[in-house]
């Protein structure tokens, strides 16, 4: 089958379904792994898989710019930050004692299942005004988004850049090493008679 027939089948919607289900069958177990894996560092790497599959879904939905942005920002950027945070907060890469809090599991599962069923039943009973248009080419998609961002949504665009600046500065200020920890702990201990310095009781004795 040459490329032209594949493209025709794609645009007729016949190839989309198996590819969609293939992506789902990979994404759902990876997402479960992120939630339930005992060794937390593995969850950080499974998250890369989830974000990659979601990028595939964006490609299926003719959102090529967003697929690449998803890969660059989420699958590379955010997972990098998450894995670094995991390595800094779990330096011996220990197995989690319990991945989840036992007394919260059943109510949370009930709420999650009920929420999913509510959303699904409302989606299914809706008559969606679906408009089928010829699929757009990659360059046209980037053109559309570029025009929208700079003409219609220029103000949110500027606010987003200010927000990113604030987040950058704030994250650096929060995360930088502060060398006056001992003085601050002493100050808190003097102010509050019930203050417990938790550092000693939380160090894991190997």
């Amino acid at each position: 089958m040459d490329n032209y027939q594949f493209l025709q089948q794609w645009m007729a919607g016949n190839v989309e379904t198996p590819i969609f289900y293939l992506i789902c069958f990979i994404a759902i177990p990876l997402a479960y792994g992120v939630l339930f894996d005992g060794r937390i560092i593995r969850c950080g790497f499974l998250l890369i898989g989830v974000f990659g599959m979601i990028s595939g879904i964006f490609l299926l939905l003719q959102a090529q710019f967003l697929a690449m942005a998803q890969l660059m920002i989420y699958a590379v950027g955010i997972t990098l930050v998450v894995v670094i945070a995991l390595m800094l907060t779990n330096p011996r890469l220990e197995h989690d004692v319990e991945p989840s809090v036992p007394q919260h599991q059943l109510p949370a599962a009930f709420v999650a299942v009920a929420a999913f069923l509510t959303i699904y039943l409302s989606l299914r009973s809706e008559l969606w005004p679906i408009r089928s248009v010829e699929t757009s080419l990659a360059t046209y998609n980037v053109n559309q988004i570029g025009i929208k961002l700079l003409v219609d949504y220029a103000l949110p665009f500027e606010f987003a850049s200010v927000l990113l600046l604030l987040a950058l500065i704030g994250a650096v200020m929060l995360a930088k090493a502060d060398h006056s920890d001992a003085a601050r702990s002493q100050e808190w201990a003097d102010a509050d008679p019930d203050y417990i310095d938790r550092k000693e009781e939380n160090v894991v004795k190997v």
Partner: protein, 184 residues
């Protein structure tokens, strides 16, 4: 894992796959006609059947992780096969959102909470992009909204992880159960 529970797990997976594939290939309406019930509820009945089988399998000792994952996939396929493509994408988005919600409430590690929040935001993004493709394909406003969500999520993940690092520096732990300073 004993051999009995592994056989039980494999039996559940095989039976669930058989049921769901049979339904997906269109035998559901045939069975419903035999039972003289409405064919609209075929997928809901298949879902309840798979869920009941999963509960039974776990109660009898099958491996919970495998049963939960294959049960979810089977229920997802059964619920979305007869629906238009837009509903399929939105169901996937709802599934990711609810899984993220569960993870956020239940997780003991603060970084896992932040990862669950990222899952929820990705579910919302899939929802918006699917709606923009099927309902608004000319002005892709859903995609522009999704770009802004992507931006804000990246900023929030950075700040959230900086907070987790600062908390770790003070408490030497990221266990959510130990962050009890504000408790009375």
């Amino acid at each position: 894992m004993s051999s009995k529970s592994s056989y039980l797990t494999m039996a559940f997976v095989a039976l669930g796959t058989f049921l769901v594939c049979g339904y997906a290939y269109g035998y559901g309406p045939m069975v419903m006609n035999l039972l003289h019930t409405s064919t609209d509820l075929a997928d809901v009945l298949i879902t309840l059947l798979v869920f009941a089988m999963a509960v039974l399998a776990v109660a009898l000792g099958a491996d919970m992780a495998v049963v939960v994952v294959t049960g979810t996939i089977g229920i997802f396929v059964a619920l979305t096969v007869q629906q238009p493509e837009l509903v399929r994408y939105m169901t996937l988005a709802a599934l990711l959102f609810c899984m993220g919600m569960y993870g956020m409430v239940v997780s003991r590690n603060a970084v896992r909470v932040l990862m669950s929040i990222e899952l929820m935001l990705n579910g919302v993004n899939i929802n918006l992009v699917a709606l923009s493709r099927y309902i608004d394909p000319v002005d892709v406003r859903g995609q522009v909204f999704a770009i802004f969500i992507l931006t804000v999520a990246a900023a929030e993940a950075a700040v959230g992880l900086a907070i987790v690092l600062a908390a770790y520096r003070n408490m030497s732990t990221v266990d959510m159960e130990k962050f009890t300073l504000l408790k009375w």
